[in-house]
Amino acid sequence: MRRPRLLYVPFWATFVFLYLPIVVLVAMSFNAGESAYTFEGFSLKWYGALVEDEQVMTGLVNTLIVAVGSTVLATVLGTLLAVGLARYTRSKLLDALALMPAVLPDLVIAIGLLLFFVMVKQTLGLHSVILSHALFSMAFVAAVVRTRLTGADTSLEEASRDLGAGPLATFLRITLPQLTPGIVAGALLAFTLSLDEFVIAFFTIGAADPTLPIVIYSMIRFGVDPKINALAAILLLVSFTAVIAGQRLTRIGERGSRAQD
């Protein structure tokens, strides 16, 4: 059946609305002029200026430390949480509670964490940001892995036990390989979430050198520096790569499990 062309108009309009700002931003990051608003020619100078900006570079390093640290933590804990939820409890309440941080407003988590850290007299710094990011991305990892576990065949685990493997060997050799695509997708999600997270980092970093989103925010308060466009373009690239890689992996995983059926 042929669809009328007219129907495509709102479809493409939505896409333009979604991606026009991003396209403008990326284009402006290659601007040769000083103005952040008018394009005067192609140049990579803002990328060069970015590398020389110590504040930005520190922010970038901090952000990567936080992103990697919280991703590792969130992936391990989130996976275990998902396995626990899927295999050892039937409680819908626990399920909901475990996934709650993913939908809770960041501000609530941020204020709560700040209060908590102060209360337990925990010094603030990158480590507290890592913990905080791990907290909410753990919920995302758990959600992704949980979905995979629900679809997974428990008879594989029983077969492993039946063939003489203990619970630990079964988990490591059978359950974990089954979950790998889900775990990788969850980890990538956690990584990108942490990369540009502002609110929680802002609340929990204390007096330490800030992460990149905070650096950008403080720069923007004094007018839009074209350097920021370059920075945003780089972050965009990293996020895009991560998301696409994650999607690919999940799709491969799904195809794998479909082939078993």
Binding site: S155, L156, E158, R161, D162, L163
Partner: protein, 437 residues
């Protein structure tokens, strides 16, 4: 070797197993047969260790089985879904169990090679399970289980996922393997064909209880309960009361002859079961209404207690006059008093006359139709004839019975749909058993 004693298990209100006791011998091919939800799978899972019974014991070679974790039991299970590890090759799947025993690598390799040879999959050793056909996957699952050399191998519906042709091959294969490796096999199935063709002995399950444990032939020929008679194979069941010498007194068909499999008190509620292939079928030539053309004076003994209940005036006479005596008709009418037969206002009919009795059955004035020289058996109309497997399967509608009587005849049938037929059987081929079971 395996002794299961008083094992019960319930899930909430549902009793999956109710004091089940079984004994399985070394080297036996044993089947747990029953409809889905009868508890057989629960028993299998208890033996494998994935389920714990509420009460009862299970011992293997005298040692308590239930105290062991599933990975410590000398028992392996072949899953219905096969449960092959999709991320491992065929060889790795089979080696998995041996590697868990921490056997030396060379030995693992050797035993995997051997078993691959046994199931004929050497060429597929490095394939992934997804790349195999259903039959091949099943062989891998089987190889993975027997390579461990368990004391007991459990098989959950081993043939159900295969198409018909592969099934027949695998069936032979399973029997051959069982012979070769000498492991005790316990197969769980809802498919009686599977159970009958594979097993040395079968335990029939119903609603969490074992109804009968017997060899296939006994199970088929001497069922001991209504459930078994009905569930195992096609059967024709008649309800009534037992008479003194192996007969069943029914309301609509008089006395049917059979052989009691157990002591039955006279007058006790009883059940007669006769297999379709044991029923002899004769065409009864229909005669026009109102004419009694059948010659008299034939050499057939009088039939006893063959009438329709009185007052059923709407019933055509030809249906009402059913000579019910099936076996030795010689033992006279006197042996069955009216109260035993349970037929109100009984009228005796002599079958050989074929004429309408002067009793109630002929109220509507229609003359009885009679097949010439059909001294005994039921009569009815053929509803359907179907031919498959070299056997003609006929459904015969008999008045007074809700379900048609099933008859199986070797070869193509000469009888066609709508024909009037008389049915009879040898009393040794019909089983009489207690109804309340």
């Amino acid at each position: 070797m395996l002794r299961i004693d008083g094992v019960s298990r319930s899930f909430g209100d549902v009793t999956a197993l109710d004091r089940v006791s079984l004994e399985i011998e070394q080297g036996e091919f044993f089947a747990l047969l029953g409809p889905s939800g009868c508890g057989k799978t629960t028993l299998l899972r208890i033996l494998a260790g994935f389920e714990t019974p509420d009460s009862g014991t299970a011992t293997l070679d005298g040692a308590d089985l239930l105290a062991l974790a599933p990975n410590r039991r000398p028992i392996n299970l072949m899953f219905q879904s096969y449960a092959l590890f999709p991320h491992l090759s065929v060889a790795k799947n089979i080696a998995y169990g041996l590697e868990r025993e921490r056997l030396p690598r060379a030995e693992v390799k050797e035993r995997v090679g051997e078993v691959l040879e046994t199931v004929g999959l050497t060429a597929h050793a490095s394939r992934r399970p997804q790349q195999l056909s259903g039959g091949q996957r099943q062989r891998v699952a089987l190889a993975r289980a027997i390579v461990k050399r368990p004391r007991l191998l459990l098989l959950d519906e081993p043939l159900s996922a295969l198409d018909k042709k592969v099934r027949a091959d695998m069936q032979l294969e399973l029997k051959r393997l069982q012979n070769e490796v000498g492991i005790t096999f316990v197969v769980v199935t809802h498919d009686q064909e599977e159970a009958m063709s594979l097993a040395d002995r079968i335990a029939v399950f119903d609603s969490g209880r074992v109804r009968q444990v017997d060899r296939p032939v006994e199970l088929y020929e001497r069922p001991r309960s209504r459930f078994v008679a009905d569930f195992v194979g096609a059967n024709n069941l008649f309800d009534g009361t037992a008479d003194a010498d192996g007969g069943l007194v029914t309301g609509s068909f008089g006395t049917l002859r059979g052989t009691a499999v157990e002591e039955l008190d006279k007058g006790a509620a009883a059940l007669l079961a006769v297999r379709p292939e044991k029923i002899a079928l004769r065409e009864a030539a229909a005669t026009p209404d109102g004419e009694a053309t059948v010659p008299e004076g034939e050499e057939t003994p009088p039939s006893e207690a063959a009438t329709a209940p009185s007052g059923e005036a709407t019933m055509p006479a030809e249906d009402a006059v059913v000579p019910a005596e099936t076996g030795a008709a010689q033992d006279a009418e006197a042996t069955v008093p009216a109260e035993d037969a349970g037929v109100p206002a009984e009228t005796s009919v002599s079958a050989e006359t074929g004429a309408a009795p002067d009793g109630d059955a002929a109220v509507d004035g229609e003359a009885a139709q009679d097949g010439e020289a059909v001294p005994d058996g039921l009569r009815g109309t053929v509803l359907d004839v179907s031919f498959y497997g070299g056997v003609s399967h006929l459904s015969v509608e008999v008045a007074g019975r809700e379900q048609p009587v099933l008859v199986a005849v070797q070869g193509a049938s000469t009888v066609t749909t709508g024909a009037r037929v008389a049915l009879s059987w040898d009393e040794r081929d019909a089983v009489l058993l207690r109804a309340a079971q």
